[in-house]
């Protein structure tokens, strides 16, 4: 009897864990090891390929497409992250109090998050069309038309704006959870001291949600670096004029899929995506630690 109880105890936790652990192992951890292995081979979709050492990585150095893609993904991080850290925080402060109707606004602000990126890209594509809503409004003001979707840089900027816009509600919710933990007395004390709204924001709110801002910074910089759908959908599968808007993940998808996909080279590119994402996350976390020690 005692033996039965003991085995039961030892086995049941693993039964509970089995579905989750199996999926995560099979579709995240093992594929990662496979990718790391393939990166050093010349595997293709239909052929396993052989060991080629660092050849894929050497090829990357001379691959103009790679540098273009790396530049675009890097720019994406630099432009998108500051807006994504700041705007949703302001939005959260706007809907933080339980005023009448606020619940409706919160849900409404979340709409772009719920909508699929394909839908959102089609909506934006139609708005930014040469004869779309935005140019229609610009014409009323006597300006334009602006060819948002015809120019390499305007296209990339439009995709960035779309990413920021689509993430507003998501990060707002994260900030709301953090703000719920900030004691109101802090604000009231500052208000009594005669601090204006901006002062209170800088000296009360920001320090209180600092760790959440770092979290949002880390999450959004990794997400921005991995950008695929927004650019793929607005600029098209080939990545805009002469492929100038290709991002790193678009390059992975283009290189590694298809009947004669270069799995080996695409895996090497994937490792770069993984490595940069990891470094970005560590950088943000370290900046946080240093800031905390300094402050």
């Amino acid at each position: 009897m005692a033996g039965r109880v003991r085995t039961h105890r030892a086995v049941s936790p693993w039964l509970f864990l089995l579905p989750g652990l199996a999926v995560v192992t099979a579709f995240s951890l093992c594929p990662f090891l496979t990718t790391a292995h393939h990166a050093f081979t010349d595997a293709r979709t239909l052929t396993p390929g052989g060991w080629v050492g660092l050849r894929n990585f050497r090829e990357m150095l001379h691959d103009e497409q790679f540098w273009v893609a790396l530049r675009n993904s890097g720019l994406y991080v630099l432009v998108v992250v500051p807006f994504t850290v700041l705007l949703p925080l302001l939005l959260a402060l706007l809907v933080e109090r339980r005023l009448p109707g606020v619940a409706f606004f919160r849900s409404a602000f979340y709409t772009p998050v719920v909508a699929s990126v394909v839908v959102v890209a089609l909506v934006w594509g139609w708005m930014l069309d040469d004869r779309g809503l935005v140019n229609g409004l610009l014409r009323v003001l006597g300006a334009g038309p602006v060819h948002f979707l015809g120019d390499q840089w305007l296209l990339l900027l439009s995709a960035m704006a779309l990413t920021v816009w689509k993430g507003l509600g998501y990060y707002m919710v994260i900030y709301l959870a953090a703000l719920a933990g900030v004691p109101r007395e802090l604000h009231e004390a500052a208000a009594v001291d005669g601090a204006g709204a901006l002062r209170r924001f800088v000296s009360v709110t920001v320090p209180a949600v600092r760790s959440t801002m770092v979290l949002v910074g880390a999450l959004s910089s990794v997400a921005a670096f991995k950008v695929f759908s927004e650019v793929y959908l607005l600029a098209g599968p080939t990545g805009g004029p002469a492929g100038a808007d290709t991002t790193l993940v678009m390059l992975v998808q283009r290189t590694g899929t298809g009947l004669n996909g270069r799995v080996g080279y695409a895996s090497a590119l994937s490792l770069v995506v993984f490595g940069v994402a990891l470094v970005l996350m560590l950088l943000v976390l370290r900046a946080n630690r240093r800031g905390r020690e300094g402050g």
């Binding site: 936790p13 990126v117 909506v123 069309d129 509600g169 994937s270």
Partner: protein
């Protein structure tokens, strides 16, 4: 004087909320308006006309002639429902084990989920593709569901939620002789309903909205999900934006309905601290 300042601040707050509302929801309303405009109505006017002159549902019927939009919607629905079920079961059982059960290897199991969180899906997509092909599942809806069937983030959310439930509740049940499964289903699960709603919403929207993975794994157009299918409407832009608009409204409407129904639980779940990670 003070109360007047408060009124002004209140008005400014609501005015700002309306501006943000226009920015976040406005584009969808513009899309809805476009989808209701008849073929005779100019959609390129300047200044833009926000209300259709003669609202019509004809575009919704016509978009189905261009792409089998309802079949695609059904495929997306199958994938999303399956993903909700697998995530609710897989994440809550695993989360419960990590939060409440004591056994050798618990730390290692927890680390496996954290490690999985660090591996970006985009960086293993080629290996996943090879894997589902080797399993003989290439180009199937099952293959679309599998990689996200139990999200690592959802497991960790559930673990945090269970860890926040007072243990005394379960202790009483242990004394009454309840086994692990009974404790899990009768006491633990009902206490974390908010987080379950959050996981359900994340899983549904994640599956319904996913684009890169179904794009890579599906090649037979009969099995396309809505996102992959809609991508093909892209080419019809120049001909008729009304049809594209109708297609996007079909894609977004079910989600908005679901979110409207569940949003109360969602924001309560968020309040439980579910999103703090």
């Amino acid at each position: 004087m003070r109360s007047r300042g408060r009124v002004v601040r209140g008005v400014v707050r609501y005015a700002l909320m309306l501006v943000v509302l226009a920015v976040t929801v406005g584009p969808f309303l513009w899309q809805l308006s476009t989808s209701l405009k008849g073929p005779a109505e100019d959609v390129y006017t300047s200044p833009p006309r926000f209300l259709p002159a003669h609202p019509t549902g004809a575009n919704y019927a016509e978009v189905a002639d261009v792409i089998p939009v309802w079949d695609y919607a059904l495929n997306s629905l199958k994938v999303a429902v399956a993903s909700v079920l697998t995530n609710l079961v897989g994440a809550s059982t695993a989360g419960y084990a990590l939060a409440r059960l004591r056994f050798r290897g618990r730390r290692a199991a927890g680390l496996a989920f954290v490690a999985a969180l660090l591996v970006p899906l985009e960086s293993v997509i080629i290996a996943q593709l090879t894997l589902v092909r080797d399993l003989g599942l290439g180009d199937t809806l099952v293959a679309v569901v599998l990689p996200g069937a139990v999200g690592a983030l959802n497991v960790l959310l559930m673990r945090n939620a269970f860890a926040g439930v007072p243990y005394e509740l379960e202790e009483a049940a242990v004394i009454d002789g309840a086994n692990v499964w009974q404790r899990f289903t009768r006491i633990a699960l009902p206490s974390v309903r908010g987080t379950l709603a959050v996981v359900a919403i994340f899983a549904f929207t994640g599956a319904w909205d996913d684009f890169l993975w179904p794009l890579v794994v599906l090649s037979d157009s009969d099995r396309f999900t809505l996102t992959v299918g809609l991508n093909f409407l892209h080419g019809t832009f120049q001909q008729n934006p009304r049809l594209v608009a109708a297609g996007t409204v079909i894609a977004v409407a079910p989600l908005l309905v679901m979110f409207a129904v569940l949003q109360r639980y969602f924001f309560r779940g968020v309040g439980e601290g579910a999103v703090k990670g």
